[in-house]
Symmetry: D2
Subunit: 121 residues, 4 copies
């Protein structure tokens, strides 16, 4: 699916909402809440797994598809929220990554859990 860009996804999610007259519910405030709910469902898939189990989750015939579906939901709401706000997600992420590169220079940050703890945020 080489042509499926984030722009195309954004347009499809917008059309999905428009066709159902759901724009009225899609304020940034409401969408931020919906995003939270979906992230909560994603986290719930991992909550009782060990680190190793979580790394192998996609090989599990039951859990793998569920995790993929939850990531799909999270992506839908994130893309919708960005669309409503007029934000380019990839550009916003790249800007933030550049900030983080300045705050955590490679030579000081290597392997440091203390640094990693506050990390990219």
């Amino acid at each position: 699916m080489t042509t499926s860009s984030i722009q195309e996804l954004t347009a499809r999610v917008r059309a999905f909402a428009d066709e159902r007259d759901w724009q009225q519910f899609h304020t940034p405030k409401n969408l931020a809440m919906a995003l939270t709910g979906e992230v909560g469902e994603l986290v719930a898939e991992f909550q009782w797994l060990t680190a190793d189990q979580s790394a192998a989750v996609m090989a599990d015939p039951e859990l793998g598809p569920r995790v993929r579906a939850e990531l799909g939901d999270v992506t839908i709401y994130l893309v919708r929220l960005a669309d409503v706000l007029g934000i380019d997600l990839v550009a916003a992420a790249l800007d933030k990554l550049a900030d983080s590169a300045r705050r955590y220079p490679v030579d000081q940050a290597r392997g440091s859990a203390a640094k990693a703890r506050d990390e990219i945020s």
Copy 2:
């Protein structure tokens, strides 16, 4: 920034982590938690705003850039989690959207808050 695709962002975030030896912290379990933390910061920007205020948030010289930065953080961790799991976010979202289209046919779902309540998820 026409060339900045989600694939390019994914590669940059991966390089960022690799250079700092942070792969060791980036289990799916840990990244799902980090995503939660960032979504929590995003939600906090909206918590006391009315629906109308939230719709105008990008015009606020202080709040607008903060919301954009938080969306950037959320995107970074979402892209990183998908990379570690080997999931194509856009494809996962499109599959989920197709499911939702079946569950909420246009003619039955129009404007329905009850339907919208369970919505895309």
Copy 3:
């Protein structure tokens, strides 16, 4: 139910976990994730409601009991996490409230959305 204190609830949740040998899953890390999942379910109940609808939610025969059940779940995991960590929740909350009282003096904070925005946290 005058005798149902938070201490009694804590003891009951502990017994529930012990009887099922679930202590092994109840690390602070896992319980923090479980708490997130439950809060996500709670937030999802409110995501499409207006402020006024949210204020009237307990009068709704379908939504009211669901919100109460979600608050119950959140409380169970919060109490369990505090038990595992050895933290007195009420004392921790009172200490934090005293901090907030110093940071937001009544005469400066009255009705201020700006102050309220950062509020108790």
Copy 4:
């Protein structure tokens, strides 16, 4: 602090909000969002820790007090939300625990990760 009950905490949080005219912001919808933000901060404290590190977190002179303070914040907003909704948190939790006891009988649930995965919720 034998007298510090959840009822007393509830009354203190209510007075704190009333004195600052913050009731106007404290709709259930907004408080559910605020709770999310605080849980996000709590989760962030655990995100890069191993299971063992998380179990020892209260012995860390820097992390321990931060975790306690975050639990305090979560408790404040949970208690405030319950107050606004007119819900008795302990009673709601005990009712939910009784439900879970029926759904996960001791003899079938012992030590089962599969059962624990869906667990109390």
